[in-house]
Symmetry: C2
Subunit: 282 residues, 2 copies
Amino acid sequence: MELISSNKTFGGHLNKYRHASSVVACEMTFSVFLPAQADVGVRLPVLYWLAGLTGNEDTFVQKAGALRVAADLGLIIVAPDTSPRGSEVPDSAPEEWAWGQSAGFYVNATEKPWSDHYNMYDYVVNELPGLIDRHFPTSGRCGISGHSMGGHGALVCALRNPQKYLSISAFEPICNPARTPWGIQAFSGYLGADRQSWLSWDASELLASCQSNLSILVEFGGADEYLDEELKPCTLLGAISNSRCELEIRVRQGYDHSHYFIASFIEDHLRYHYKKLVSSTL
Amino acid sequence: MELISSNKTFGGHLNKYRHASSVVACEMTFSVFLPAQADVGVRLPVLYWLAGLTGNEDTFVQKAGALRVAADLGLIIVAPDTSPRGSEVPDSAPEEWAWGQSAGFYVNATEKPWSDHYNMYDYVVNELPGLIDRHFPTSGRCGISGHSMGGHGALVCALRNPQKYLSISAFEPICNPARTPWGIQAFSGYLGADRQSWLSWDASELLASCQSNLSILVEFGGADEYLDEELKPCTLLGAISNSRCELEIRVRQGYDHSHYFIASFIEDHLRYHYKKLVSSTL
């Protein structure tokens, strides 16, 4: 694991690392914010943040204004890239930005040649946390959140691993990717033509059958230009009746799909995560 | 003036506009944050923020985490671009990023062909504020700040117009551009070979002869990689003894030249500006 940059900020450090990933079979970069509390031997909770389409490991840490709050709380933030990358990694056609490089959709691909690299689910859920827990003073307690494609990723990772994440939230997630355009394009490529196989990567489907009592916080902008066609909050809401989960959906009038929305409400989410991370029983 | 984007954030709006500028003779874009207080007929103070080399009208509003505080205070923030732009605007060689497009240095050029467009001083001090005061509910009280080349710009604009700006600060400004490499390159191009003419665009020179009682707040990172060669805080400090100005220079240990530093201390600066803007006598 190689440190490629380090910036002091809010008394802590925002570090970027490069490492060889075995599950996605290429070099990966991620950002980690280490609050000042990490320097004095305290073991801290971790929030994994998954970025959206066209994003990378910089997007959230640069644009969301989250590090101020994480520094105050003593919360480690880990922001991975959104896909495997590099000349050896297959990519979609340039105009198809909803899948391929920078759009891994946090699944494990089953179709060749994508399945050689596009295993972002395994990367986010297993390989990366292993690395984080080995190198940083983590408490063993972690939560997950993300935006848009990353909100989908956060919900899917949490619903498939109800014991792993003690706090779960999402901003403007793609709630039903098996039936909406970006998701259909990505799943067709990564998972193939059998749409039944897609359902285990769809938050609404997973929620409908979830028998754990998870709590999920989801935030939408009422002026989000993708709300009706791509995000479908109603599908997520409709899935709750069969599950044992708690779901809180907030809609903020006038806000769109940009990071200006995330920045406006990230403090709420970070405090929500932190409270669960320090107080929940494992 | 054409609205090209509007994002709701922190209860207010971050708008971007395009307009034809007469002083720089091309189309210019700028960002303006209008807090919610602007919607209810209250007249608000304005902070002009000048970005650094390679920046534009997005840099500060996306990366500094300033809008949260501006929303809380009720402060309009105006962030112009860093130079004239476009195919009709002359540019430096691609490897010379310290002058030319995205590096206007907030001077009025005197050398052809630069002087046809590179009049960013007049743009920032006169044309843009005229536009802002005509279109938005401003109180007529304004302050100025900026980063690096923009910190230089803020100090020079304020020192040349001691009646205009009621609050003045800078992050990591280029304090003595007439004698440091980036400044020498830019001033040689824009202002020509007569180095005497450069001194009226140099904050340290202007401060040394300033007979107004201005207060100036300047913030540096102790690990700023450009501190000794390009920024020269000691030159600014050395100039204070002949002037009637008050100068506060803070050095924050371990912080570098990035926006992660600005984000860490922008709240202090915004509250400093706001206090002066609402309480100073004109």
